[in-house]
């Protein structure tokens, strides 16, 4: 019987495409995952682009309009977007997607967070009081995000539960397959020490076994200072570190300066889908980053 029902649904699916769920996400990575799970049942728009710093977004009218009509809003959560999301949601006047609403999805749900500050180290400069929010940079967390999104889609569009569950399965299996490939490529470089510009790689580092020794920023959000750069140069020399990881939205001057003084290399890794034109999906993101690291180290 169930089989027939889903067959019937498949038959009618093209007819109800107008009833697609309208989803707005804060970053393109969440958009990519939502599209894998929702398939043709969803229409997804991401507010931030992949080459933009997600901490800062200047509101444009279209963002508020999209939010006012959205069925689902997916946010990275923690305190990554506190500078702009509450204000946009407030202006959108859409009860469904307000915090606690039916269509409000906090993608950080169930994610094993890293760097949750204790009361002791809070004074040392952690800007993220709930833990580091760059968790989508671990593909295993991508699976958890996908589960959270699938649960919401099934709740709001129960008629297509089967389809969402099947998509989730495909996505999860693809991550499992790809993660072996990625880890395989990087396995020779396990425990390679690197320097990063901003503290946004702990999840990536954790998954792929790199060791980030220090950052060009003396503390998150504070541009590199002279004493910090001097310190980094001496660390890189004494520990023979040759890689500095930068992000697309940070100026490369400081990283270049350090590289010139140490003979190291600057690698710009993508923090989000869409950071370059070739990164079109969540999988491309890791393909790209793994390749960037490989070419830099070799």
């Amino acid at each position: 019987m169930k089989k027939y029902v889903s067959l019937l649904l498949l038959l009618f699916a093209p007819l109800c495409t107008h009833a697609q769920l309208k989803i707005v996400t804060t970053i393109p990575d969440l958009k990519s995952i939502a599209e894998y799970i929702g398939g043709d049942r969803v229409n997804v728009f991401s507010i931030a682009t992949g080459y933009q710093n997600p901490h800062f977004v200047d509101p444009k009218p279209s963002y508020i309009l999209k939010l006012s009509k959205a069925d689902i809003f997916i946010t990275v959560g923690l305190d990554l977007e506190t500078g702009w999301v509450p204000a946009l949601l407030n202006s959108a006047r859409n009860q469904r997607i307000q915090k606690g609403g039916d269509g409000y999805v906090d993608a950080s749900t169930n994610i094993p967070l890293l760097q949750i500050p204790t009361s002791v180290n809070r004074g040392e400069g952690d800007i993220h009081i709930y833990g580091n929010p760059h968790y989508w940079l671990d593909p295993l967390n991508g699976k958890i995000i996908a589960q959270t999104i699938a649960a919401t889609l099934s709740r709001l569009d129960p008629g297509h539960q089967v389809q969402f569950r099947a998509n989730l399965k495909i996505f999860t299996e693809k991550i499992d397959a790809k993660i072996k490939e990625w880890e395989g490529k990087l396995t020779r470089f396990k425990n390679t020490k690197v320097i990063a510009y901003h503290n946004e790689w702990p999840y990536f580092e954790h998954r792929f076994g790199l060791t980030i020794v220090d950052f060009l920023e003396p503390k998150p959000g504070i541009p590199p200072t002279a004493s910090q750069l001097t310190k980094i140069i001496s660390i890189m020399k004494s520990e023979q570190i040759s890689i500095i990881i930068n992000s697309p939205y940070f100026m490369s001057e400081s990283a270049d300066l350090v590289a010139r003084n140490t003979g190291g290399k600057v690698v710009t890794l993508a923090t989000s889908v869409g950071a370059t034109e070739t990164i079109k999906s969540y999988f491309d993101l890791f393909d790209y980053n793994v390749d960037q690291i490989l070419t830099a180290i070799q």
Partner: protein, 274 residues
């Protein structure tokens, strides 16, 4: 294409821009007349310093920022340069630079870095709340009322600054203090709703453009206010139609009005000199 008048957030943006435009373009006539155009950036920076300090000592940022701005306005009202080689602007520039530097120093030693501070400073009129509009309407209404009632006092003072009659102003001048106080209050509130650069533009571009049209005080004030209102409306219209951030759009339109008037003025001069 969006019909801008059907969207609540655009109407809110228009409302708060009109309130801001009305008062700031009026105060701007004094600011430009006295030759202190950077007073806005200096006071804005002092309010930012207050936010950074509040963040540093982990106390209420808004309150401390307002206190800082008030004290800053009080101190600025003492600036009277008797040496003709110098201008008040020089001192205001120094205040701006030092306040910016100290803000950076404080942030670099604050527990949470930049993120808390950016939240307070980068307002957009598209995301103002109803409460913000009410607060601004009331405060700006009071400031505007005081300025209209005592307009003679304020303009006498501005003329003295214009004519460099510094001796007549005295060491502490109540009206001078009130002037800086009103500018300080207006700027703290406006910056939070619209951001630093749009506020600076509302204060400076309309009066300067108005001077191009008329040198008489009354028409200048009226034209200045008209330009601010036109800039608000068409700036938001432009932002809505082509999907741009609000602040930059308003500044761009105000700039375009200025350029247009400068051309008209140039053309008129050309014809009348023949």
């Amino acid at each position: 294409m969006i019909d801008m008048f059907t969207q609540e957030f655009i109407l809110n943006a228009l409302m708060i821009s009109v309130i801001m435009g009305l008062l700031l373009s009026y105060l701007g006539v004094h600011v430009v007349g006295r030759g202190i155009v950077f007073v806005d950036l200096a006071l804005g920076q002092i309010s930012m310093l207050g936010v950074a300090f509040g963040n540093f000592i982990e106390k209420d940022q808004t309150l401390i920022s307002i206190i800082f701005t008030m004290v800053g306005a009080f101190l600025l009202s003492f600036i009277k340069i008797k040496d003709k080689r110098l201008k008040q602007e020089a001192i205001i520039g120094i205040v701006y630079a030092v306040a910016s530097a100290v803000t950076v120093l404080l942030i670099s030693k604050s527990p949470h870095g930049e993120s808390d501070i950016s939240e307070v400073l980068f307002g957009s009129v598209f995301t103002v709340t109803y409460e913000q509009i009410v607060t601004m309407a009331v405060t700006f209404g009071i400031i505007g009322f005081v300025h209209v009632i005592f307009r003679k006092k304020f303009f006498e003072l501005t003329e003295k600054f214009e004519n460099h009659q510094i001796e007549e102003i005295g060491v502490f001048n109540l009206w001078n203090f009130l002037f800086y106080l009103s500018i300080g209050l207006a700027i703290v509130l406006a910056v939070r709703s619209a951001g630093v650069i749009p506020v600076f533009s509302y204060l400076i571009i309309p009066p300067v453009a108005a001077i191009l049209v008329s040198r008489k005080m009354k028409p200048m004030i009226i034209i200045s206010i008209l330009i601010a209102l036109l800039g608000s409306f068409f700036g938001l219209f432009f932002a809505t139609q082509y999907d741009f951030p609000a602040g930059s759009s308003v500044v761009a339109i105000l700039g375009a009005i200025f350029v247009l008037l400068a051309f008209v003025r140039w053309g008129v001069n050309l014809i009348s000199s023949k």
